[in-house]
Symmetry: D2
Subunit: 326 residues, 4 copies
């Protein structure tokens, strides 16, 4: 560890609110402990193209509240190739970067793992994704913010006239995971969540309609995870038109706005703690781990475990949605 002098930091993959708070914490904690810090722009792409900037304490002033990431994020196909990673390594060497903090989701952590093992570079990853689909951690930076964004959208939707026989489908993100749809449904008091985890077991749309959904009224708000398994909001609206023509279906697609917005306090505090912990991990000689949080405690998670997401959906939460929408 004693040889680490300069730490590089990058954000990779889909944006998540709180990434800036993480960059700020990484940068200032590193400077506080005497390291030099360099920011790599546009994720791994910036390593490959050498788009690297020096970071001072002021570089991260007044960013904790901003959505997006000041270092820009990107998905980078070149980095999936040995040639790409070689270029990345050379640029990293040229810039004098000894160690890397990677903030991103499963693809980014997978890439970090390959890079670290090929070139023997100390890498620490921070879980940064709105999808909450990483193993070994209870929470990921951005998830709480996205959940609140979804909830606020549904709050507005609920205000509008409760016309009869109307189904409102709200499509939300979540990659392969139904967390945003399911927890968004609980938080917003929606009548149902349609999630990919359940699609093989049961026809969730048919079940919803055949059960007469909410007995006390004849309209419903349904959160739908964007996923081929669910068909998405458009797909479900088309099914309703054909199979349940007595209902009028309306569609809201939140899209990329779920990745933006000012982060919530939970995400900012999480990002601040994780960012500090990343630097402390290097100081303790740790490498090639993701910092996670389990039962409020920070933990080191091997990359292999972090990218193996198998938390599954909590079925008692599906029941809770039903009970609370009677």
């Amino acid at each position: 560890m004693e040889q680490i002098k300069c730490i590089g930091v990058l954000t990779s993959g889909g944006d998540a609110p709180g990434m800036n708070a993480a960059i700020r914490a990484v940068t200032r904690t590193a400077i506080y402990h005497g390291f030099t810090v360099k920011g790599i722009r546009r994720g791994y792409k910036g390593l490959i193209t050498g788009d690297i900037v020096g970071m001072e304490s002021q570089s991260v002033s007044n960013i904790i509240q901003l959505g997006g990431t000041i270092l820009k994020s990107a998905r980078c196909k070149e980095f999936c190739t040995p040639e790409g990673r070689k270029l990345a390594y050379e640029n990293m060497q040229a810039a004098g970067i000894d160690a890397l903090v990677v903030i991103g989701g499963d693809g980014s952590i997978k890439g970090a793992g390959e890079f670290a093992s090929e070139y023997n570079i100390p890498v620490v990853a921070l879980p940064g994704t709105i999808d909450n689909d990483l193993g070994g951690t209870d929470a990921t930076i951005g998830y709480d913010s996205a959940l609140n964004t979804i909830m606020e959208a549904v709050d507005k939707l609920r205000d509008t006239a409760s016309s009869h026989e109307r189904l409102f489908f709200v499509e939300v993100m979540g990659h392969t995971a139904g967390y945003l749809a399911l927890n968004g449904a609980i938080a917003s008091g929606a009548e149902a969540a349609i999630v990919p985890e359940m699609e093989t077991e049961v026809d969730q749309l048919a079940e919803l309609i055949n059960n007469g959904f909410r007995k006390s009224k004849n309209s419903a708000i349904v959160l739908v995870a964007e996923n081929p398994k669910t068909g998405g909001a458009i797909g479900l609206a088309e099914r309703v038109k054909k199979e349940f023509p007595q209902y009028d279906a309306r569609v809201t697609i939140l899209g990329h706005l779920q990745r933006g917005g000012s982060p919530t306090s939970l995400d900012r505090i999480l990002a601040s703690r994780l960012g500090e912990a990343a630097i402390e991990a290097f100081m303790e000689g740790q490498r090639n781990v993701m910092i996670g949080v389990r039962n409020s405690q920070l933990v080191y998670v091997p990359f292999s475990k972090a990218i193996r997401h198998n938390k599954g959906i909590n079925r008692t939460y599906l029941d809770l949605v039903k009970i609370l929408s009677i």
Copy 2:
């Protein structure tokens, strides 16, 4: 006028934020001046079904900030028939209602006009619609709130990674008018607005792309009015896929959430002033007018002029969008 003792109030058509502030102002101003007030639920439908409730000062406590309408709104086909209006009149008589305040958009005002002339009832209308598509008034209750809702959504979208060659289409409401799309584009700093008013003149999508849109970067946020003339966000994304396959198009459809949310201060103040003016109009012997606001002054607008929307789109605003997104 001296015979008016009991004033009925209803909200009709699509919800608009600020309708509750208007109900509150109508109710309290009427009570302040000695009138009795009755609330009619679900718009004209409540007149037809006799769904009418007494309104006290406390009935409108703590509602100024709520989206939607405590009286519920609806579109009502029966009221378009002579039989429906006859039923409505009979229920109104039975409930002892002498005069009516109707809060709604053009369809609602048209219905109010027919009803008023058939049965010689004093009616005052308040412009309540997010679309701002009424004649004789600079502003309608709900427009400013919807505009801010749209803007905040685009703000979040703008945070996300500015990937190359990507077009974000955000579909907004507006009925036949492009105000929400155009002013939403200015307010959010979007690269373009695609509005129904221009569709016959020029292929707005082709123009946007062929002009290389924003020269300084290769992605763009485009606000699209939901309207058959524009094709909507989905239609435009499909056109991009076919005609401009070098671009990756992503879709956000805000949908009915634009009709909800807590009203802005402008909408609440407007609704409060208009609500007070509705009662004062009755006291001045006015009838069968919409209260409008022109150059900050309250004015009486004949129904025939209110429903003839021909404000058109301000072309200098289209230019402004272009200049400001260089």
Copy 3:
């Protein structure tokens, strides 16, 4: 347990965002399982005055997003007397209420404990307070919302001109606990938090100023817990005027607005889970416990442990504020 047929629910003490979500979950889960539900208004006061209303599923429609509490809350001195509790018991009997769900903070839970033991009534409490100062639970309903309210206020403050030599004191709530001040400081990127837990050890204001606080600039935002030990924002501003006249101190006092506002998704989900668990606790024969959450799991906490708050302040968080504001 078999004798419980009718469950009463009340909110007590200071308002906390999410109380409505808890009322909704208690009511609907109880109805789902076949219980009758009655709402008691204005906390224990409503028991004493017999202000009790029947609750149906629709009674809690469309309230999950509302701040405050539809049942109203109050502090009630009469309930601290044996005479008051006797009256309360008699009214409870008269209303046919067999068991009670109390949503509130330490004073409310203390009262619940006395009442339960005197009259042998099954009582379950839910932790409802923005102060997060209850034992046996990691979180309380309302804390996350209040934290976000504080953070958003400081975000706005940070936007304003960073004049030289200026100290902004923002006074926040927290009762005897510094959580809101300390976590608010981390979340908002403030330069310091002045909390009651530290006041006996060190002169926090002197330390802040003598250390030159943030070296890179000469102004600072300081979150101050409202507490005699800290002196509050006004007290500190007066000290600055006398002891450090080179600084210009400005004061923001957030006051009761911290108790209001729409709850965050975390508070709504927490309240929904706790509300469901309250009814399940009765069904399992539990009584006289608070439902808490530890390491994401719901737990039963004896009243005596719930009101003994000794979580203390996390000193590593005080360090984190300093490191991240370099």
Copy 4:
């Protein structure tokens, strides 16, 4: 006019949300029409110290939504002296700036006028102040945003338990004008506004209390303009303690947070239009005017008229507050 090649832009005085939108519009419109643009930092102070930066189209990317001002603002005493203005002129010459756009309030416009007349420099001012206290214009950049910030704070306050005999004083800004207090009271449904304009006529606090304020309940929210004439929230709370001890008074002081936050759509659109108009004014040969908006039309306002604020308070609005809080 033909000699103008390079336009300088600065923000001066207290921050106002929308100043960044104005900087963006000035910069891009100028570049669009072929001018060079330079940004002067920290208001007139930057002219005196030569803190001047080149502005490109990208310099103002992604700032329309940000509160504060990227050019920083300041009040500058040196600029009130002939020596200060001489230095400013010399730096302006050295930087090659031919004309100046000043965004600020009355003090800033007064300074602009003196500077322009002394050194024969073309200056255009834009009204940028949350106080709305400028002559010749219906609106100022930042006023609508501050009004919404105040309203949202009072919305949260209103959620909390309506205890008996309690007065909530919320102190808001406004300089010598009561607009924010009065319109904030209408927008938030507060029971009263205490404004400097009325203080010489009547004891507003005594009137409020002696009239039993809101008959239907015994607590009230009162918006108080921060001004020696009103005594401020603290002063009024102290008066209540002495003169009306039966009431419990609570204080919220919003302070500088009213100057921050993301601007509303109205402020962004206003700022965009005014910014465009500033450049067009130079192109039309105009100089030494403020761009105002009257009845939705842009107008040129002589500096002398702009700084003579005498719009007064609208007394019908004071009546409206009373009527609507019965």
